[in-house]
């Protein structure tokens, strides 16, 4: 009798202890959020105020991202990863498309760009229906969901050097980088997202996620300029399997890699024409690994 009593109290204690971090992590109270209503954002010379973004969020964003910004809005249950990724959980403060190093908060400009650009192959449309001021206010409202925006500063944006001229040497050199850092492990030797590790990829919350397929004509999630692609190597896409290569790819090599990736894409480009002219073959996955 007594023993079972002890066992029960131990169980309850353990349950209480284990649920503590869960409560503070996943369930921010209204009081938590109210304390952050003064959150501001700055994009260009526009200042955004969280309070002013609340109404637009409620009207246009809440259905997916949820009242508390945890990504559990009413319709989130119908999102079906990997083909239709779940809405972002703003409370964690972890964002894919940043100009800042892996493990740091994005800048206000990054969040503004995400709202303006939308995310291809997801439920997130292009929100260019909002005025600039409305978007900057929404950035402040999105930030107010995560305690991290109170305690931390955004990372320092990476520097992107001017884009060099596309040459045959550069496209060829980009192929070498593709082979050396083994992009093909997930993206496949032809860029068709069919590498040996593609099928088991998961995001940080354990949900299936697909590698980018370069050949089907989709827009890369974080923008489709050469600069946008360059940025991804140096920052990684936090919350996903895509790591940062900042320690492993030099700025010049990163441009080479951008050009080689363009040659894998379906859209006609100077890079694609060069690769065809050179008769570039896909990299050999069984070749001994070249070291840097």
């Amino acid at each position: 009798m007594r023993r079972s009593l002890i066992r029960w109290s131990l169980f309850l204690l353990a349950a209480a202890v284990f649920s503590l971090p869960l409560v503070s992590w996943a369930q921010l109270t209204k009081a938590d959020l109210d304390s952050r209503l003064k959150m501001e954002s700055h994009v260009g010379n526009i200042t955004g105020h969280a309070k002013d973004g609340a109404a637009d969020y409620h009207r246009y964003c809440e259905g997916c991202h949820g009242v508390r910004g945890d990504g559990n809005g009413e319709v989130a249950q119908w999102f079906d990863p990997p083909n239709f990724p779940k809405p972002r959980d703003f409370q964690l403060g972890i964002f894919k498309c940043r100009s800042t190093p892996t493990g740091t908060l994005p800048t206000d400009q990054d969040l503004y760009d995400a709202i303006s650009r939308g995310f291809d192959r997801s439920g997130m449309p292009i929100w260019n229906t909002f005025t600039k001021q409305e978007r900057v206010d929404l950035v402040a409202w999105v930030k107010h969901f995560s305690p991290r925006f109170v305690s931390e500063k955004p990372g320092t944006a990476i520097q992107i050097p001017p884009e060099p001229e596309v040459t045959a040497e550069r496209v060829k050199a980009g192929r070498e980088v593709f082979a050396r850092v083994q992009c093909w492990k997930c993206h496949g030797v032809t860029g068709e997202a069919n590498g040996p590790s593609a099928s088991t990829l998961q995001d940080d919350l354990g949900r299936p996620i697909a590698a980018f397929n370069f050949t089907e004509g989709s827009r890369p999630k974080c923008g489709d300029t050469d600069q946008d692609i360059y940025r991804i190597f140096m920052t990684g896409l936090d919350g996903t399997p895509m790591p940062s290569f900042a320690d492993n790819i030099k700025p010049d090599e990163a441009w080479d890699l951008v050009f080689y990736l363009r040659s894998l894409m379906r859209e006609p480009s100077k890079e694609k024409a060069i690769a065809q002219q050179l008769g570039l073959k896909p990299v050999d996955p069984n070749a001994p690994a070249p070291t840097q």
Binding site: Q182, C186, T200, Q292
Partner: protein, 247 residues
């Protein structure tokens, strides 16, 4: 009125006790540091560890040609000793003892497509290093709870990559994964103060412990935590053995 008196009485008692505690606080002296040693064992049959199919990456298969790689959630030595258990002082360390930081840099290696060691213990704020000995690309992807103050990051380590040096802000058991090789699974065990990890026989020694009374906690990734009380004398060695039960 009466409740006010009571309040004042309680308050003054608390203040008195606090003052007494401050006066009698043991003085930390580096010369008199002792240690805590012991053995962690597993009682009962060791749970079955699943074998690993590495056929996704021919390099990994070749690297493990002479062994049969298995999951390492529970590693038991010949005499029942439990490996990869982290021991640390969960109660009793003074603020000055906690402020003392080790200058050693623990190393987490990616070797033969597994993490060596499987569990890397470290102090809060202590720099650690992630290396790769493999001729295949890894990505090193720890996944802490960002609400603790530990922020997840994800860095690539292709063959010959330079080591990654980092540290963590808060105590936490942080799971580490490689997305390229989904079987790769390890831990960063971040604790406050001195720590130790058990060897293949389940033995451990926590060094640099100032004299005092402590609670030692043993953490095993599958079996959770256990605690024991120890008294460390100046320059002496206290003993704390632990036994985890397998079902």
């Amino acid at each position: 009125m009466k409740t006010q008196y009571k309040f004042v009485a309680v308050l003054s008692t608390v203040v008195l006790i606090a003052c007494a505690a401050l006066v009698h606080m043991p003085q930390v002296n580096a010369a008199g540091e002792g240690k805590i040693t012991g053995t962690v064992k597993l009682d009962g049959p060791p749970p079955h560890m699943k074998g690993i199919d590495m056929s996704k990456d021919p390099y990994c298969v070749k690297a493990n040609a002479n062994s049969t790689p298995k999951m390492e959630n529970v590693v038991v030595g010949a005499s029942g000793g439990l490996e990869n258990v982290v021991l640390y002082i969960s109660e009793g360390l003074s603020a000055s003892a906690l402020a003392e930081k080790s200058t050693t840099i623990p190393v987490f290696d990616q070797k033969n497509c597994v993490y060596t060691p499987h569990v890397l213990a470290m102090d809060v704020g202590q720099t650690f290093k992630v290396e790769t000995s493999d001729q295949t690309a890894h990505n090193i992807h720890p996944n802490p709870n960002p609400m603790t103050g530990n922020i997840p990051w994800n860095q690539s380590q292709p063959p010959g990559a330079p080591p990654v040096e980092k540290s963590w802000k808060a105590p936490e058991w942080i799971e580490v994964k490689c997305n390229i090789h989904p079987w790769m699974h390890g831990w960063f065990a971040v604790v406050k103060g001195p720590y130790a990890t058990t060897d293949a026989n389940g033995n451990y020694t926590i060094n640099n412990v100032p004299p005092g009374n402590y609670t030692v906690t043993a953490w095993q990734e599958q079996f959770g935590t256990q605690t024991a009380k120890v008294a460390v004398a100046a320059g002496g060695a206290a003993k704390a053995d632990f036994t985890f039960k397998s079902k």
